[in-house]
Amino acid sequence: MDRRTFFKAGWGAFGLAALVSGVGVSLVAVGRYLMPSVFYEPPQAFKIGTPGDFAFGAPSFLVDQKIYVFRDRDKGFAVASAVCTHLGCTVAHFQSDQKFHCPCHGSIFGADGGVQHGPAPRALDWYEVTLARDGQLRVDKNKVVPPTYRLMV
């Protein structure tokens, strides 16, 4: 192969390689473009009020955030997700048996959020709850904590 043919073929190959990588980069860019950069949704970390707003015993259900706030005298605060881990339906906490029941496919979660029945693949999430400086409880849905996590106030 002489210089000329080499370069002829070389340019072609380089061109093809550039074209292929260009298409690849474009596809990646399109993919990234489709990933939302901001969310027009309630923030994942939010304040839910002062500890005094929550009673002992039965949990409070916060509709907008889809969370259950538990307050126990000895153990303090805990926040459970009300979104079924199966397909995203909203679970209901029954005071009578202290369990979470999902209306969609009949999953049942125990008091600790663990799956006791039904198709749910994993336990309900428990979210970190902290006391902000202004004395309000702050829940961060980005931080999943073990079900034993408690905030003492």
Partner: protein, 428 residues
Amino acid sequence: MNIFREIYQSIVRRDPLSTDKGKTELVFLNVWLHIHPAKVKKEHMKFRHTFYLGFISFFLLLILITTGIALMVYYRPYPAAAYQDMKDLQFVIYMGPFLRGMHRWAAHGMVACVFLHMCRVFYTGSYKKPRQFNWVIGVVLLLLTLGMSFTGYLLPWDQLAYWAITVGTNIGSYAPLVGGMLKEVLLGGHSVGEGALIRFYVLHVAVLPLLVVLFTVVHFWRVRKDGGLSRPVWKLKAPKTAPLVQIGGTAEAVPLAVQAASTEKTYGLMEVVTGKPIFETVTPEEDDDAVFSYPYAFVREGITLMATVTTIMSMAIFLRAPLEELANPAKTPNPAKAPWYFLGLQELVSHSALLGGVVAPALMVIALLVVPYIDRNPSRRPRDRKWAIWLFTAFVVVNLVLIVIGTFFRGPGWALVPPWVHVTGGAE
């Protein structure tokens, strides 16, 4: 009067239809009709062989595109307006309920017809060589049809739409590795909201229709190129030893290719190239079976089109497309059900999310895609392919049973409730 004659002749340039040349030119000189051959074999057009399901699916697609464009005029894809626009379509827009009804029933009909079309092609063994790849394109079209229906489901923004899509996209999120990202890209967020609505809208009115049209074109093209519609099994003749033909080159020069002339092929005029005459195609004994497409094929297609249109129009007039309450993210209806054609999937998911929601459907799709390549049996006769027929029948029955269970036998809490037992919604 000559000017009118001139205008007519400038538009219609073919010979009169009373002549054979005219009948041929009607097909070849018309961009819309030239997907047809000039002549068809009668046996290819046997209704009992294909039930015209492919035609019906295509005509339903035409109805969907037409009514869909009409509906777009009044539809605004954001949550505050979408539901109100549906109400407007229902109550004040001229023929709104009719258009929406046609769109809805045509959509459901298309899912059903495309599926039945696939069953027909399987049972007649029409996916076999040389049509393997067209089967693959057909499976892609089936998936695209499901995608069209699914994305259209969210647009009314009622409770049914909202929760069907919530359940549906959560099924998608079980896909390994990309699941979470897939859900986020599809929804434009973490839950169904205004981001999801606009994305589904774009998919529904631009991306997926474009893909469906493109793949349909390829699908049709290949039907022609692979030898036209497959002929009924009972008309199959013993394979003849096909004469070898040369493509390209003169008699003395080296030919570009040498291949067997198919006995099942009809060839168009555009395949007439300079040089050697084209292959021997029509054998004398088959000749009486071949007729001009005009009017033999066209009248049959016309009847199919009109039957499809009248059926859908009657359904639109007499069956109202439902619209539930405004979407309420805080309140999950019990039970929350996906669209009927996904209820089989949902039924699987209710047993195991990963196995039923991802593994099983993925295996099904892969199995469908590779069917023509693993089925090496060259025979199309049912008695030669019992295994294939048994397996496919099992596949169809399992799907139907799951859908029937999901649709009619699942009550609140996804508990098994037969349809004749009335269950009132549980206390909150």
